[in-house]
Amino acid sequence: MPHGTFARFIWPSFLAMILFIALPIVSVAMQSFFVEHEQVMREVENCGPFTCTTVLQVDVEATEALKADAPLGRYNGLGTYTNRGHLAFDEVSEIWAASESFGGFIAGVYNLPFYKALFFTLAYTFVVTPLVIVLGLLIALGVNRLPKVTKGPTIFASLLPMIVTPLIGGLILFWMVDADGIIGATLQIIFDDPDLSLKASAPLTWIMLMVYGVWHSTPFAFVVFYAGLQTVPTDTLEAAKIDGASRFQQVRYVIVPYMMPLLVFITLMQLMDNFRVLEPIVSFSAEAKARSLSWIIYNDLSGQDKLFGSAAATSMLTIFGVAILLTPVLIKTWRDFNRRAV
């Protein structure tokens, strides 16, 4: 394609990407370098229905004047990135100096909010992503072998977990795994333990969240693989059969290599999706046991006091994390592309 044609073809998408993706990220990045102005405070007497007290209150006019001069706030450089709520450089080096063993160091770092969230986020991503791909492929292969009459309803039923809004799906399961719910009560009977509670133990909560993640994302992988299966060349498959390839060998040496681009695509999507896990944590009320990077952002921005600088810094670190995760996959795709071009 001539460059001119390409440019004319691409410019509307390019413009939309700048407006709706690049500029907001630039704005968030800017925000992350600033913190609120110093609050000018003075002592005032407050009287309510119960008593009067002398307390500090923000001097609105003086603070407004500061804000009017510099609406973005105080420039803080990378200060927000390195404070205790994020990369916590000072705290990490203190822990390093104070801890006697490597295990103690890890435990100390794990106590810091950002690293704790990062650990769960990575664990979730690396458990859920491969499971989703494997299960999605297996379901696609299974459904593909079904007789025509049952195919339609099966596909519809398999897609249901993806159709349910994540927050709602999470809430439904949350009540089902309650000690009085159908899943929770059944598990208590199976394991003969009346105190078994998926919500009370941290490891069980993690497992529950990951199972939920697999349940919710597998239909996506399934539907992509199923579409791919329809295009697998039948002559190659027949040739493999004539050569005496078993069913497993057909999948391993014909179908999977043929669907490699789809597999890369699903891996990319799943890495991105799982790295920003949030909804199951909220709907399972699992904040006490599992926090993700997105949950930290959500927590900074919900409630009365909004920590915009902190949320922006965590957002930038999340983008950075996604970029690191995607790099190996992207490099591989780029190499394959070049090899094909030669």
Partner: protein, 412 residues
Amino acid sequence: MFIITRLAVASTALGMTVGAALADCPVTSGSVRILANDFPALHAVVDNAEACIGEGAEFSKNHSTKHNEIQVAALTANPAEYTTKIVANSSIVPLLNDGLIRPLDDLVAKHGQNLQPNQLIRIDGKIMAIAFMANAQHLIVRQDILDQVGKETPTSYEEVLDAAEAIRAAGIMEYPFAMLTKSDWNLGEEVVNMYLGHGGEFFKPGTAEVSINNEQGVATLNMLKSLMEYSNPDFLTYNTGAVTPLWESGELAMAVLWGSSVGGLIDDEGSTPEIVAATKPTGAMTVAGGATPASSLWWDGFTIASNISDEDAEATFIAMVNGISDDMVMANNDKAVWLMDSYKPGLAAEGVAAAASAGADPYPMLPYMGLLHSAFFQEVPDFLQGNESAEQTLADIEAAYTAAAKEQGFLK
């Protein structure tokens, strides 16, 4: 305590104020737009405010449990999205910090003759809100179960532990106790209450510097942990919506709940007559031999936005004063502990009244209290799950608060 004297004289005052003419209703011009939390008492207030809207005036309302999250953005707009926000003593703080609500002295002088002096919330001498109801957390007990194990109604958390152990030992319930310990704002509130009960100070006087890493702090956390021994292991998911059904289904013998929830527990819906008959609100508990209850007092009141025309402000004020009129109180007597004179305290109010008369402290109305409250619920779950020592948790709380307060400009 104002509230108690008021509760005592309520019946005598009734005759004087009922039927006082509301000459200003209906409002026929301007616009009234209300943002409020979503519970029955506030529905009653807002519906009565709406009844005051005549032809020519506009009215809209938004009841949302997420009211605190949208209030600042909504009132920063010019003109503001809402002309009035119904606040409590913590949610008024962000509005004050940004100067988003206006002083009401003129409007009170003109249209507020029926308001009681203790309804006027004065900040730095100026009236910034009109309070109309009080709320506090207190203990609720099942009298039948306490009788069964031969225990008196507890007055302190130590006695709660004692009674809980007796109930467990008698094999009646494994987990007889619950409080609002969901690891969000709710848990923060329990820590605040327990720390107040231990007589702790949250900040160094006259500064925004936190000081909770002390004996009272350790005692606070240890008491919460001891109580959680008798609460279902799911306790970190317990909010009002989770605990009230447990109570109504008879799975709890003692619970610490908001006074505003009691009305729903003793009505004839959702439970059996036996449980309802045995449900008894009592006062707020003291702890560690302290004199003040381990509970904070709350008020709800309305404010008027700054960024609206004076006409709208006046229309809104008139409508809201009508919303908290004596007629409203008489029609909705048991939905809340009202601060107006026409209120007749009923069973549902006993807990809040007892907490107030025992000298409970109001929730601190400080600009940086919200940050400490968040730090509490972010860090305390680690301790309650037995992952770390009380001292470590308190140090974490202080560090988390300090980082947030620096970012918000309260600390250097």
